[in-house]
């Protein structure tokens, strides 16, 4: 297996706050990695560093061995990274199909002269864009109307379209930021199955998730973050048994040593 994504000692600081402080993990092709942690643990910040929306203050991000740390988001996307956002970031006034076509911008296939003169090349490329858009919408199991503005759609459908858009990018690495947020039980099961199918395409999938059940079920490896630091990494079983993970999620036992608590506060 080859490492698609290699994050080493990633750091980002906003003023005095270290949102991400030394995160390292590797994602391989055909693998599902989950990044979990309590609210404010720095998961989304880490995603934004990897995709170039934030410039990391330390550490490096490598994509297929090439250093992409701090590059422009568009260049990183062109390098083979695709993502979804925590709160849907679709193009609300555009149609479902146009939204998915956004993921295909890098296919090229036409220039402005082709567009102005409607050359055969232009028509071929537009047909390709439309066919691909339908293909990816089918792939994610989208069943609604496709020629209507996306702002009219239900939330679950919008989430599907966002994933279809990210898939149309045909990237080697897909970052999903809380794909299950706001979905009901049935929808989560469908999502689980979808994530596995995406992995089977040969994509490395990294997902941020709150739903522990879903994470434990779908991911091959889990990275746990708390207060910007990486506190554990391993298979779901290993992570479940890790005492610091339990502490981060459930809190410390009340009877724990007071001295230890004082000293840890002193550190912060």
């Amino acid at each position: 297996m080859s490492a698609v994504l290699e994050v080493s000692d990633l750091q980002i600081q906003f003023g005095g706050v270290k949102a991400v402080d030394g995160l390292s993990f590797v994602a391989n092709a055909k693998e599902i990695i989950a990044v979990i942690g309590p609210n404010g643990a720095g998961k989304t910040s880490a995603f934004n560093c990897i995709t170039g929306f934030y410039k990391p203050t330390g550490g490096s991000v490598k994509l297929n061995g090439t250093d992409i740390t701090g590059k422009r988001p568009a260049d990183i996307a062109a390098g083979g990274v695709s993502r979804t956002f925590q709160n849907l970031r679709l193009f609300p006034d555009l149609t479902v199909l146009d939204n998915v076509r956004a993921g295909m911008h890098l296919y090229g296939g036409q220039n402005f002269l082709d567009a102005i003169f409607h050359t055969p090349r232009f028509k071929r490329s537009e047909t390709l864009y439309t066919d691909e858009a339908h293909y990816w919408l089918d792939f994610v199991g989208y069943k609604g109307q496709r020629g209507v503005p996306i702002r009219n759609l239900a939330y679950g459908q919008q989430k599907q379209v966002e994933i279809a858009r990210a898939l149309a990018r045909k990237a080697e690495l897909l970052l999903l930021d809380e794909p299950a947020a706001g979905l009901n039980h049935n929808e989560k099961q469908t999502l689980l199955e979808l994530v596995r199918r995406i992995r089977d395409l040969g994509t490395a999938v990294v997902l941020i998730e709150h739903d522990m059940g879903l994470v434990m079920e779908v991911s091959e490896r889990i990275v746990v973050m708390n207060f910007g630091k990486e506190i554990a990494e391993g298979t779901p079983a290993e992570v479940k048994a890790n005492p610091s993970v339990i502490e981060a999620y459930l809190g410390k036992d009340d009877d724990a040593n007071d001295e230890e608590e004082v000293s840890s506060r002193g550190d912060a």
Binding site: A74, A154, E187, L191
Partner: protein, 349 residues
């Protein structure tokens, strides 16, 4: 994400057929709607061909090109440009100066005008497009005024009195294409081509990229769209359209002076785009015609005509803030034959 859940059964109500509104929509959204419009433009001289009406109609058509160009910048890409008239100035001055200096027909200055407007677009766009929304508007306003004041003070541009006695558009043997009727038809053809080209650009890969940038810059960037380049391209295309308008403008008036490039003109072009319906080229053409023709039709009101004009604009904006004919985000659903379905089914990545 599955069929039997509460989130999937809420498709927008399908547009009901057979109502008057639906029928009108079907007529207006027809892709051949441009042909009757072109027909009307071609027939107009048979209805009225006085020197005055030809002058008004030609001016209105030039204004349509300007609105089409600004629609690329504001309507497609969402960049509020308050100094757009600067590109008309660059085009008109380049055409006027070169044709006078080398005694060339104005048409032959076209390549130079395109080069100059592309350069102007780059020069003004490159520094300003790093800004967003309000800041961009203010800075473009500044550049618009800078262009006019520079023209007002340069020797080359003839200072405040400008350039006059610009040669004919083109003379073929004895035939002077500058004659009002012929020039009107030349304008009709050029304007039709430019409007069609702008509309087609809007429905291409580049046009979609502009709309993505307008709707959500970050999401566009995440999909690999280099937003800065895309915005710069919108600016350059807008500038070139302004240049084409400039050639027609210089030729039509055979004179260019700084008084034609006031901020008011930029505001009027923007008004045409907003009034017509941002992002929809058909609407923008209507908007441009209304803005340029209405003051002429209101001549009966004498000195009150601009007051009436202003009141009408306010009324339209109150009752139809999205413009006469806004962009409609609809496209056909999939039409799938059995063969297509089988192909899609059996298709691997």
């Amino acid at each position: 994400m599955s069929e039997n859940t509460d989130t999937t059964f809420a498709p927008p109500p399908p547009r009901t057929k057979n109502t008057l509104g639906a029928r009108l929509t079907a007529i207006f959204e027809n892709k051949y709607i441009g042909w009757p419009a072109l027909g009307i433009a071609l027939l107009m001289p048979f209805i009225t061909a006085s020197a005055y009406s030809l002058n008004v109609m030609t001016t209105a058509l030039i204004f349509v090109v300007l609105a089409a160009g600004l629609n690329i910048v504001v309507g497609y890409c969402g960049l509020l440009d308050l100094g757009y008239i600067a590109f008309l100035a660059v085009g008109a001055y380049t055409a006027g100066i070169l044709s006078k200096m080398f005694e060339l027909p104005v048409l032959f200055t076209l390549p130079a005008v395109i080069v100059m407007t592309v350069l102007a677009g780059l020069l003004i766009g490159a520094p300003t497009l790093r800004l967003r929304s309000d800041y961009l508007a203010i800075v473009t306003l500044g550049f618009g005024e800078i262009t006019r004041i520079t023209a007002n003070n340069l020797q080359l541009t003839g200072g405040p009195s400008g350039i006059f006695g610009i040669p004919s558009f083109l003379t073929i043997g004895e035939l002077d294409l500058q004659q009002p009727v012929i020039f009107y038809y030349i304008t009709v053809v050029m304007v039709a081509g430019l409007v069609l080209a702008a509309a087609r650009l809007g429905k291409s890969r580049l046009g979609r990229a502009w709309r993505y940038v307008k709707e959500d810059e970050d999401a566009a960037e995440a999909m690999g769209i280099h937003t800065y380049k895309v915005k710069l391209l919108a600016y350059i295309f807008g500038a070139v359209w302004g240049g084409f308008a400039g050639i027609l403008f210089a030729s039509h008036l055979s004179a260019v002076s700084p008084q034609s490039f006031l901020f008011l003109q930029s505001a009027l072009v923007l008004m045409a785009v907003v009034l017509g319906g941002m992002g929809n080229m058909k609407g923008v053409v209507i908007g441009a015609l209304v803005i340029s023709l209405l003051p002429e039709l209101l001549r009966d009101f004498a000195e009150y005509r601009y007051l009436v004009f202003g009141v009408l604009l306010v009324v339209v904006m109150v009752f139809r803030p999205q413009g006469f004919w806004p962009a409609r985000g609809y496209e056909p659903e999939r039409k799938m034959t059995a063969v297509d379905a089988a192909v899609a089914e059996g298709r691997s990545r």
